[in-house]
């Protein structure tokens, strides 16, 4: 693609850089570039506009006849007649692509702009107005990227204003807008500025064209047709009511998961909750007014609505007057009003009688869609998080999700659905549940947290509104068929795919007689501090990374830094697993977790010698083993508890979903920050307990972003993270110096930073192209040990080459016995295997054939 578009990329780049020189601002140059390319696209569009116009014309001419053909019950006749009609108009379905010509026209410019702006180093760190860095996502709205949202709103508005669009075209435009949102969400701000400007210019053109359009009425006068706007609003209101009702449910599910009370503490939650409830209530009230009949039920409904509205207005007004009601705070006011409005809207819906509607599908199909659609993400979760779902929790997991779907359906039917069919409510409830359960997936994909819900608002809007515009039996059945197929695919793939996160229960290790013979003469505290991704000095040198700061800290605190050390596992879990089992055997992630959480030879040998184990490891490194292996350690921090899963499964499930990971041990809506763990680590050091084995895995500096493509500023990002790691390292070592100077401190990296090549696993690289420096970058690790007695250590550490040599050497040191050095594994690394490449062998800097 880049090769084909190279001329256009080159032209755009020249134009952009020239404009920047003239204007003096990269941001403004982007806007001007956007203006110029919009003009070019408009001109080109003028040349090709006849093709979509022809498509629209022929569709309008054939439409009445196609409609008549559809009434024929015989499918063969229908096909023959359709063929005949197409022949008559010299038409073939492939010509439908003509309507997309304007889009195809834009794509080369978008692709070229993307490639041009991605590879332009000059934009790194350049700010424009409120945007801090044009080469990165904007993160303007409390961490949310605002520009993609603006772009989506502009696109949707353009679709709504385009008069030649049928409801089907509008729905398609909504979906395309949603897809662009997902695909461009994490793109560089520069691209978003450019592309959003393009869309704004197009919107302005559409508005100007619309202004000049007029409809001639029968009496010959002309003007804007207000009736069509009213009709559009009237069609949208019932759908919007359902939308707000579902959003209210979304917040109810969240509030249930709060650790205390039922009030959101953060304005990022209670304000949107209030808005959703107010929207639901307002439209319900509007419906009530329109359907008013002088019956008792309506009288009650109207009275309740009126009274509640009055209370809401008075209460809100009072809370906003300073000093008048000093004890009332906004969070409680907003939360309370939201509940009031939501429940009153619900009650109003119950009191309004439903209209009798013809149901497009029978009840069994409705139930099927409610069950099947939400199961798609559920099955996917179950496959990748199977160690959490053991025993009856497996069944409970699915039951709870079905219950959420059923509850959503009930709410829609009873309070918000009286103008829509039950089938429509079933489909919307199923999609809502699917999106809710998929939220961790979506947020992980968009690198989002659960603090702000605007992503869910947008995704639900883009999904529900088009469904409301086109609602038919055929669409319902198609949704059922496709979702059934997806579910089947996920279930079948679970049987055949080898999953890294398959649970595997691993056999509990039992110390052999030989291992029981390992007896220590001294038992200082042992601290194993893993600084994720920190490499050895060679890698620092080869990747042009600053080593001086690290060297200084290690020297200042008396660490012995071993040269050219590396690990036998290229990822955190298999590296640490091999280290704690001092082995080079093949190991996958789940086994790594099992070992890291205490089922390791190291831990058992130490405990056999009277050590107490204290693991400061987060969920990624332990999984459910943090609960099942509780007998293998004295402490796990952050603390885990299995009791929550038994008594309040639904609450825990909601917390897990809304926090973005399937943790069945959570107690709060927001998980403990890493900073809390690091503070606790220092506290543990200060406790000065004896014979303790403390393990902590710190996330910094970490490694590349693992996308399979290096960012232009990959090294700079990593150096920034290294600074954070060095600060923590300094704090750790100072605490050790002050409180536990006689301990053994092991400071290591678990793997390399992977800043070269493709910044990941070199998947597309041939074996012969992989050089030693690339492998060093991935497995070269820092190993630095602070020995209480350096002279003693020298007797045993001469042959320390890999991470996996560390503990046999420590055992020999503690027992003052070189025999245990025999447990050091071979120094040959085998790994970096891909589906298209066998393993790479590496031995002390040499690639093996």
């Amino acid at each position: 693609m880049r090769t084909i578009l190279y001329p256009l990329i080159w032209i755009l780049q020249i134009a952009f850089l020239s404009l920047t020189q003239v204007i003096g601002s990269y941001g403004l140059a982007l806007i001007f570039l956007s203006l110029i390319t919009s003009l070019i696209m408009a001109w080109l569009g003028g040349l090709i506009k006849r093709y979509p116009e022809r498509e629209a014309l022929v569709q309008s001419l054939m439409q009445p006849k196609l409609k008549a053909i559809k009434t024929d019950s015989n499918s063969q006749n229908r096909h023959q007649k359709t063929v005949g009609l197409y022949k008559r108009y010299n038409y073939h379905p492939i010509l439908a692509l003509r309507s997309a010509f304007p889009l195809f026209l834009q794509l080369p410019f978008l692709f070229a702009a993307y490639h041009m702006l991605s590879s332009l180093d000059v934009l790194q760190g350049v700010s424009f107005w409120l945007i801090r860095d044009l080469s990165a996502p904007d993160a303007l709205l409390a961490g949310i990227n605002l520009l993609p949202i603006i772009m989506t709103v502009v696109n949707i508005t353009t679709a709504l204003l385009t008069t030649t669009f049928s409801p089907k075209d509008k729905a398609q435009a909504f979906v395309i807008a949603g897809l662009f949102l997902i695909l461009l969400y994490n793109a560089a701000s520069a691209l978003l500025v450019y592309w959003t400007m393009n869309n704004i210019i197009f919107l302005i053109r559409t508005m100007l064209m619309k202004k000049h359009e007029s409809i001639t009425f029968k009496n010959g006068t002309s003007g804007i047709n207000r009736h069509s706007i009213a009709r559009l609003i009237s069609a949208l209101l019932p759908i919007l009511k359902q939308y707000f009702a579902l959003l209210c449910l979304f917040y109810v599910y969240q509030v249930v998961a709060l650790p205390r009370g039922y009030h959101f503490p953060s304005y990022l939650k209670y304000i949107p909750f209030f808005v959703a409830a107010f929207g639901f209530f307002s439209i319900q009230l509007y419906d009530l007014k329109n359907r008013f009949e002088s019956t008792f039920r309506y009288a009650i409904a109207g009275s309740i609505a009126g009274a509640l509205l009055l209370i809401a207005i008075v209460g809100m007004s009072l809370s906003l007057v300073p000093g008048l009601v000093p004890s009332l705070e906004h969070p409680e006011m907003f939360n309370s009003m939201a509940y009031l409005l939501m429940f009153s809207a619900f009650v109003m819906g119950l009191l309004m009688p439903s209209e009798k509607r013809v149901e497009p599908v029978r009840p069994s199909l409705r139930i099927l869609i409610l069950l099947i659609l939400p199961m798609i993400p559920a099955v996917h979760y179950a496959r990748v998080n199977s160690e959490y779902l053991m025993g009856q929790y497996n069944v409970l997991f699915y039951l709870v999700i079905s219950a959420i779907a059923a509850l959503s359906y009930t709410v829609l039917c009873s309070s918000a659905g009286h103008r829509r069919s039950k089938s429509d409510s079933a489909l919307k409830a199923a999609i809502f549940t699917l999106l809710l359960i998929s939220l961790p997936l979506i947020r992980f994909g968009l690198r989002q947290t659960s603090k702000v819900d605007i992503d869910f608002w947008l995704i639900l809007f883009v999904t529900i509104i088009p469904l409301g515009l086109i609602n038919s039996r055929i669409r319902f059945i198609k949704a059922l068929q496709v979702s059934g197929l997806l579910l089947l695919v996920f279930i079948v793939s679970g049987f055949f795919a080898s999953s890294d996160s398959s649970s595997g229960t691993y056999k509990r290790k039992v110390l052999s007689e030989e291992f029981k013979q390992i007896v220590f003469n001294e038992k200082p505290n042992i601290y194993l501090f893993v600084y994720d991704g920190i490499p050895n000095e060679r890698v620092f040198r080869e990747q042009n990374l600053p080593f001086a700061g690290l060297k200084q800290i290690l020297d200042d605190h008396g660490f012995k830094l071993y040269e050219d050390t590396y690990t036998l596992g290229e990822a955190s879990l298999n590296s640490m697993g091999r280290m704690l089992d001092f082995t080079d055997r093949v190991m996958k992630g789940p086994e790594g977790r099992d070992i890291y959480t205490g089922n390791s030879w190291t831990n058992l040998i130490l405990r056999n010698n009277g050590y107490k184990s204290r693991f400061l490891l987060d969920n990624y490194y332990t999984g459910y083993a943090a609960i099942t292996h509780a007998d293998l350690f004295e402490e796990m921090y952050p603390p885990r508890s299995a009791t929550a899963t038994k008594s309040d499964y639904f609450v825990v499930l909601m917390r897990g979903i809304l926090q973005g990971e399937m943790r069945f041990d959570t107690k709060g809506l927001v998980s403990l920050e890493d900073a809390d763990t690091q503070d606790y680590k220092l506290q543990v050091i200060r406790e000065q307990k004896e014979s303790t084995f403390v393990v902590n895995h710190y996330h910094y500096p970490g490694h590349s972003q693992n996308s399979g493509k290096c960012l232009p500023n990959e090294n700079e990002i990593w150096i920034g993270k290294l600074d954070i790691a060095l600060k923590q390292m300094e704090a750790d070592f100072l605490a050790i110096r002050d409180y536990d100077p006689n301990s053994i401190v092991i400071a290591i990296g678990d793997h390399g930073p992977a800043l070269s090549g493709d910044c990941y696993d070199l998947a597309a690289w041939k074996k012969e192209d992989i050089t030693p420096d690339l492998v060093w970058d991935r497995i070269g690790t820092m190993v630095a040990i602070r020995w209480p007695d350096m002279k003693k250590a020298v007797k045993y550490d001469e042959k320390l080459v890999t991470n996996q040599d560390v503990f046999p050497i420590i055992f020999s040191y503690l027992a003052d016995n070189p025999d245990y050095l025999k447990y050091c594994p071979d120094d040959v690394f085998w790994g970096l295997r891909t589906p298209f490449r066998t393993e790479i062998g590496f031995d002390k800097g040499e690639i093996l054939n």
């Binding site: 022809r54 063969q76 096909h79 439908a96 889009l103 662009f180 695909l183």
Partner: protein, 424 residues
């Protein structure tokens, strides 16, 4: 479609493999390509499948058995009035035929009949190329100059009998040179056209065409329009000024002074250009429109169909346009013909013609005025409106036009007995 998007979205999002590198923008193309491509593929496969199992609908089976040797080629909806009577008559007489058009909005495409196989040939040069390769033995067409060098539509080598049907009451004088040179037959409006056709054949050593007087089809349609007039008492007379387009038009040859005089004299004037003027001389005609609109008692008629204006008018002033005869023959009202001095019309058939039917015929439906006569236009208008006799016009019409108001049926019967009958 939403489900397809969900499928794509779910396949792209996977927490285990979170390093998806996506090419942005490709999703929208995927949607369109996917939908259009899959739809087209499924549609085509369905047809193949049905053909394989050998089932056809009764309608297509029946038509396939017929050897259709009759066809009509229309340039577009502007000739709707010419072809509609013929099409309806052919259907009534159960004659299978093809209807080809170069206009997708041709209303005749909407007719569903087991006897009629309609086809839109395509836009621009594609349509012309297909028109030049039609596979039908007999083809009725109203377009002159088919087959001439440089003309976009060529005569198909498969057409053995290219038949011309007229869309106006006139001899060949207002056609461009070579108008009927490649035609094999002519359905004449009346016998008066035969002389000019034969003269040209002689002059150019062309093969003799088969000439048959069958009438003017569009009169079938217009003659059925209600013949209403506005109330007679105390109302001013309405004059319809109908111009041809281009150099043949009275607007191009006369100023609007005579129109001003008419309005000042109390006449209501409807000025109507030829629809072709809006395509060929837009700026000029809009300028004329502006001038006319400033006059009191004057209005401008933009309708493609002249029917309404003709219904309201008491008298017509025109040039060499055949609309004069439409007006006179349908509404039996007089016409003032303005001379244009078009003796020199290079490139038109009249260059090779010795006498022009129009010149004589104009005197049978009203009077002919020269430029100088327009100074006294009011007098002439008053005289003609007092003195015209509808019976005279009707008698003249019956002499000139064959099968008045029934040309379509006559053509269909002729085709049935003499054209297709001969083929059989």
């Amino acid at each position: 479609m939403i489900n397809i998007i969900l499928l794509i979205a779910f396949l792209l999002i996977n927490p285990v493999c979170a390093y998806a590198y996506l090419d942005p923008g490709s999703g929208a193309v995927l949607i369109n390509l996917l939908i259009a491509g899959v739809a087209a593929l499924l549609f085509s496969l369905k047809g193949v499948f049905l053909r394989l199992i050998g089932k056809k609908s009764k309608a297509t089976a029946k038509v396939a058995k017929q050897d259709i040797t009759m066809g009509i080629l229309s340039e577009g909806r502007q000739y709707f009035a010419t072809f509609e009577p013929i099409v309806k008559a052919l259907i009534t007489h159960q004659i299978h035929f093809y209807y080809y058009t170069l206009d997708i909005e041709d209303e005749l495409l909407e007719i569903d009949s087991e006897y009629m196989v309609s086809r839109f040939l395509g836009y621009g040069n594609i349509g012309y190329a297909k028109a030049g390769s039609l596979k039908v033995a007999n083809l009725i067409c109203t377009t002159p100059n088919i087959g001439c060098k440089g003309y976009p539509i060529q005569k198909s080598p498969h057409v053995q009998n290219l038949i011309h049907v007229f869309h106006s009451i006139n001899d060949l004088s207002m056609y461009r040179k070579g108008s009927l040179d490649y035609y094999d037959s002519v359905f004449m409006v009346g016998d008066f056209q035969a002389k000019s056709i034969r003269d040209l054949e002689l002059k150019r050593s062309l093969k003799e065409k088969k000439l048959v007087s069958l009438g003017l089809p569009y009169l079938d349609t217009y003659s059925k329009a209600p013949n209403i007039t506005e109330a007679q008492d105390n109302r001013s007379k309405t004059v319809l000024v109908a111009s041809s387009w281009g150099s043949k038009g009275l607007f191009a040859n006369y100023s609007i002074d005579f129109i001003r005089k008419l309005t000042e004299a109390g006449f209501r004037v409807i000025a109507r250009p030829h629809p072709q003027s809006y395509l060929s001389e837009k700026k000029f005609i809009e300028d004329i429109e502006r001038q006319v609109s400033k006059l009191s008692n004057a209005e401008w008629d933009r309708d493609i169909s002249p029917t309404k204006s003709m219904q309201r008018a008491d008298i017509m002033i025109s040039d060499t346009s055949s609309i004069r005869f439409d007006f006179a023959f349908i509404y039996q009202r007089p016409v003032l013909s303005l001379e244009l001095g078009l003796d020199d019309m290079p490139g038109f058939e009249r260059e090779d013609m010795t006498e022009l039917w129009m010149d004589k015929a104009a005197h049978n439906i009203g009077i002919v005025l020269s430029k100088s006569d327009t100074d006294d236009i009011i007098r002439y208008v008053n005289e003609v409106t007092k003195e015209y006799k509808p019976e005279t016009i009707i008698a003249y019409r019956n002499r000139v036009i064959s099968n008045y108001a029934n040309a379509g049926d006559a053509i269909a019967r002729y085709v049935q007995t003499s054209v297709i009958g001969e083929d059989r």
